[in-house]
Symmetry: C2
Subunit: 96 residues, 2 copies
């Protein structure tokens, strides 16, 4: 399994819309071949900070996600709602 | 679901031992009541950096983990292998 933690900072006034758009992305992403996780996390002490925890069986499945209509729509939709560019950190999973 | 991402930096010479000890902790932690995730992640571009992604159904289940023998043993075992104190970041999950 490979995993990416994507850190996103969202403008306060767009938190609700960001959650709605990201939940839509989640609902489709978990149906993708090779998807193992697509968890949407909101920071406990700062509701403007989110982490998306996305994990796939292989690199190929993760790469394919970037070409899906739901990912492309999400990327476009949320762009103006972030206070700075989102940052993805890539990990190799030891377990599972 | 609530989730904690624990960031750990490990001394190069202790990476293998750290992985072994953490896998043991993983094997027991996933059997705990209320556990949903206990993923061990190694950073793609820096094998000395790890993230533990631990998620539980509720705060109470997460708190109970801290009292288990396997957690206490892990905590003690890995202490000297880290280059700096580990840092846990707490999130509330929106999905799942």
């Amino acid at each position: 399994m490979i995993a990416t933690i994507v850190h996103v900072k969202v403008k306060k006034e767009h938190i609700e819309a960001f959650i709605r758009a990201t939940v839509q992305n989640h609902e489709e992403s978990v149906k993708e071949n090779g998807n193992m996780r697509f968890d949407i996390l909101q920071k406990g002490d700062d509701p403007t900070q989110f982490a998306l925890y996305e994990a796939y069986v292989t690199e190929e499945f993760a790469a394919a996600h970037k070409h899906t209509p739901h990912y492309l729509e999400w990327k476009e939709t949320v762009q103006e709602w972030m206070t700075e560019p989102r940052e993805g950190v890539r990990y190799n999973a030891i377990k599972p």
